[in-house]
Structure formats: C-alpha cells, structure tokens
Symmetry: C2
Subunit: 298 residues, 2 copies
DNA sequence: ATTCTTATGTGAATAATTATCACATATTGA
DNA sequence: TCAATATGTGATAATTATTCACATAAGAAT
C-alpha cells in the first residue's frame, strides 16, 4: 500500500452525493445532516486539490474529475460492503425485545416488521408498547423507539425522527360537520394525547388563539387519539409518521396544511453496552435504514 | 448502497495488519502507534462480531474469516488509492523551500532527496539548514524538520521521530586510545552540541556520574560534532538517525550500547494553512513515508 | 532457569475528526 | 415577489482515533 488513502469519510460523502446527484439525498442515505455532507465535500476537494462538483445554485454537477472518480469509488465501497456482509458468522438467534410508543408501533413498525423478521428468521421477537425507557433500565426490553427529550441518562440514545403535528379527522365526520376555518374547530370535539401542550402549540402557531372552549377528550397516547379520529370521534393532532398511511388510504383528512414541530422528538434507545449485541445493532440499523422520510413500504 | 459500510479506519488497520502480518509493522506503515492499531482491530472485530485474528502471544494469525476479508479489502483500498492518484490535476510546479537541522540534513535528507526530487521534476527545491522555526514564521521557508519540544505556537506541527543518543567515535581514534569502560571516557575529549544536557543525561543514565573532568569542545550543532568525531577529534553523542549511515559504513563506532532518549524530539513544521499547499503536503507525506526506522535507502 | 528483547493488549486521557445547529445564500417556480 | 427547496458556513458538540504509560506474554540470549 504505497500510495496514501484520501480521507475516507469525506470520500464516502462524495460517493453518495455524486451517485444520488444531491447533497440532501446523500445526507438522507448516510443518516447525517446535509451540512455534514457539505463540509466533507469541501474538505475532500481541498485535500485532493481537485474540484469534484460544479455548484449551480440549487444542484450539483459532477466535473469530469468527479465523474472519473465516482465509479471507482462506488465499486470499492461496494466491494467492502459485500466482503463484510459475506463473512461467515453465526446466525442471529435468541430473543430481541422491542419497545415502541403505541402510535409508531401500530402505524409504522407493525407494517414493516415483516421485512425485519424475514431477514433474521431465527430471531424470536417480542414487541411491547412502551411510552418511556423504564423497561430498558429494568432490562425487560432491549431496544425501544420513544418520544421524549432524549435526555435519558446511562442509556445509549440516538435521535431518530422529528415529528410534525397537524389536525386530522375522519372524512365522514368532516362531511357532516365541515371544518374550513379555524373557527369551525370550536364546533368540534378535540382529542388530546397525554397533555394539552401539543394542541396549544399548534393553535398558537395558527393564530395566537389558546385552547378554545369546545369539547375535549384526553387519551393516554397518540395511537388512541388517532384511532378515535379515524372512527369519527373528533379531531386529533396527527403526526407525519403515524398519520401518513391513514392519510394515504383516505381514513383521515388533514383539513389544515399548517404543521408545527412536536415539543419533543423520536429517539431510538438501548442500554449502554447494548450496541455490542448484534441483534440490537441489527434492529437499530434497520430502524434507521427504514426511517420515515425514506422509501415507503406499500 | 444498501448495505452498511463497516467503520473504515479500523478496516484500514485490519488491512495493513493482515497484509504485513504484524500490528507493529502495520502501525509503522500507517504512521500511528501499535496501540492505535490494536484498539482499531479490537473495535472492528467487535463491530463485525467476527474474530479476524488468532492471537498467539507474540504474533497474529489470520482466521479463515480474516483471510477471506483481506484480499477484498486490499483490493478496494488499492482501487481508491489509484483512483485518487489518477485524478487529472496540475503538475506540481513552483518553489518549495525546505529547512532542516544540519545533522538530519546531511546524513538523512541529502541522501534521499533525489528520491523526492525525481517524483516532482518540475518543482524547484531550496534547501536550508535551520535550527529553529524562525524562517517559517518569516515565510522564508515553507517546511522544516526541526529538533525541539514541538510547542511552537501558530504553526502546524507533527512529531516525526524520537531520537536516541549514544557516544560515537572514529575507529582510528579508538584504536590508538581504547574506550572499553566508562572510566576510559575521561581520557577522551568530549564533543558537545549546543549545551551539555544530552551528555549529562547519558552519563547519569550510565552510572550516575556527572560530567567528568576531561577536555570538552562545544560546537553549534550535532552535525559538526558528528563530523568532528568522524575525523577523530573526540567522542560525540550520536543519534539513531544521523549516525546510522556512519556506523554502517564504518566511519564511526558506538563503543557503548547504552542509549538514552534525547531531551527533545524531531518535528516536521509548516505554517498553519501550509498543509493546503500541495507541494508542502507532498513533501511532508514523503518525509513521513521515508521516515527513519523504515526501509533504508542504500 | 533467569533475564532481555520484542510484540501485543488495555484503560484513561488527549487530539482530531465528524456531525450538528442555526443561520446565510442562492435558485426555481408558483 | 414570495414561498419552497437546496446548498454553504462558522461555531459548537459529539464521536472517533490516537497517544500514553503501563501490563502481559513469548521467544531468544546468557
């Protein structure tokens, strides 16, 4: 190995960017921010002293040097991936205990679980609804997808997805009782998950109104409010992840386009050394690879 | 790129270790410590959940998994190196001004300079003896190989080599005036470079003696004392780098096997943004690749 | 056997790199 | 012209890589 290897992570950023044709797409693929990719590209160009892209405002274009580099690098990385994947190693066996907040569990995880389970047929899966990390601490669960502030001590935590909130209701309900303006909301029943903060934040973002005096029903979690909304029981605050399939198949309608970001975020969590467990890591890798905002499973 | 890339720097450590068959050799090749390589290997095995080496005390042996991985990875890295090297880019031209402490300059740099110059035929080189970083600050020099404590502010500094010191003298001198024991030293003339600290440290390491009362000559740098030793003028403190060729061709003899490490070290230095200059980086890369302790140029 | 020398392993601390955040800038298209 | 979308950037945070200082282990040398 006489020559010198260029910095490898910048190179991987280049590869993904050049292949997808976009910094943003590369960032999504690599599960990092576009900012990180942008920095890496700059540092690679600087290191190689070659311009790899021509910037044209909104998009990038490979220069001839970049175009020459891309296939070689793609090939090399694919070689590495396949070599690493092809290593003989024990089949994944044992039990993996997964926790998940109810909404994501029903509308995101359940429909995709088959994909994961199929990959590790020898793995026994146990799925539990969980709203906090307690079961992880207690070692009753190995991994969990949770909503919160991410400040759970002594746990391995990684941000998974941001959540954006907007009102949703059943088309049947809206048919009988229209919802065209904010004012109309007061004629509806509002469905609260947990506390009132999220609705409050949406309303105040909408026009500075605070909670209007209309009927309110509070339920323990977003899954229940969403289900209630589907059944025409009232207007819930849906989120980008759980409501997506319901909007798509027509079970729900989003009468307002305004979205506010949730007061907290989605995190993937396991115990401190948990990532050393292959099954845990496999699940976490899969969760990030299948992450919302990417290709949707039909 | 569906699969996931394993951590790349650990992978590069694996490649070098597996290819050379030794952690130490890999570390030398990568210009990092064996400790770093060892850590990386462990973390790669841990990540892949595969044992890549079988440890047998003093050496390593590839497992069958490791053996399967090696050629693929070597191939991939070579592909990357050749692709990066093959990029169209301007020939290196202009002037590169190199400074070096006199001893290394004469006994290490000079004999190897041809190798560097041949690689960049369009580059005009200017070589100066330099004992400190002043000329770098003044922008009279672009890079330098210096002896010191490395604490030069506002400069890019990287440790190059440690230096070990031991007495050296001409065989002719020793023929006429033997030097078998420490006591014999007092009958000789000692040659000091700069200050007395280095001799003092060797003597105190040898038997707690401080500077004995024998004749002393002080010269400005180690090149002069070494030359004086070659000419039979006395006993100098040679170092591992500069004395090596002289010991090899018989111009000098090291009557004692005891070595002490120098009070300071060798560093490669340039101005802060200097590494962005391709010629500077090329030289620094070359200096580290040709570093003492590696293959010797005949 | 005992010491020397050479090689690898390890935990804690440091250095360096990579990634994020919070904006800024620029382009396209409604 | 104003959103909406995409990239760029400096400052900061987080993560990785590397060193350090010492431990361990096995051949080689005495």
């Amino acid at each position: 190995m006489l020559g010198r290897l260029p910095p490898l992570y910048p190179l991987r950023a280049f590869e993904a960017t050049a292949r997808t044709g976009s910094v943003t797409a590369a960032a999504r693929e690599l599960n990092i921010t576009h900012s990180a990719v942008s920095h890496q590209l700059r540092s690679l160009e600087n290191y190689l002293q070659v311009q790899l892209f021509r910037r044209s405002g909104r998009g990038l274009l490979l220069t001839s040097e970049g175009a020459a580099l891309l296939p070689e690098v793609t090939f090399a990385f694919e070689k590495i991936i396949s070599a690493a994947a092809g290593l003989e190693r024990p089949v994944m066996t044992g039990e993996l205990r997964i926790g998940c907040v109810p909404g994501i569990l029903n509308y995101w995880l359940m429909p995709r679980l088959d994909d994961f389970a199929r990959t590790y047929p020898e793995l026994r899966l146990r799925i539990d609804a969980a709203t906090g990390p307690e079961a992880i601490y207690r070692s009753t669960l190995d991994v969990a997808i949770l909503y919160g502030d991410g400040a759970w001590t002594d746990l391995w935590v990684k941000r998974w997805n941001d959540v954006y909130l907007f009102p949703v209701a059943s088309p049947i309900l809206l048919n009988s009782k229209p919802l065209r303006s904010l004012r109309d909301l007061s004629k509806h029943r509002l469905l609260f998950a947990g506390d009132h903060r999220e609705w409050q934040s949406w309303l105040s973002d909408a026009d500075g109104l605070s909670l209007m005096k209309c009927q309110k029903i509070t339920m323990s979690d977003a899954y229940l409010t969403t289900q209630a909304a589907v059944l025409g029981q009232g207007v819930a605050l849906g989120d980008t992840i759980t409501s997506e399939p319901l909007l798509e198949n027509g079970s729900l309608i989003a009468p307002f386009s305004r979205k506010v970001s949730g007061t907290q975020r989605m995190y993937v969590v396991c115990r401190m050394g948990g990532m050393e467990d292959r099954t845990v890591r496999a699940f976490i890798d899969w969760v990030f690879a299948s992450r919302a905002g990417r290709a949707v499973v039909s």
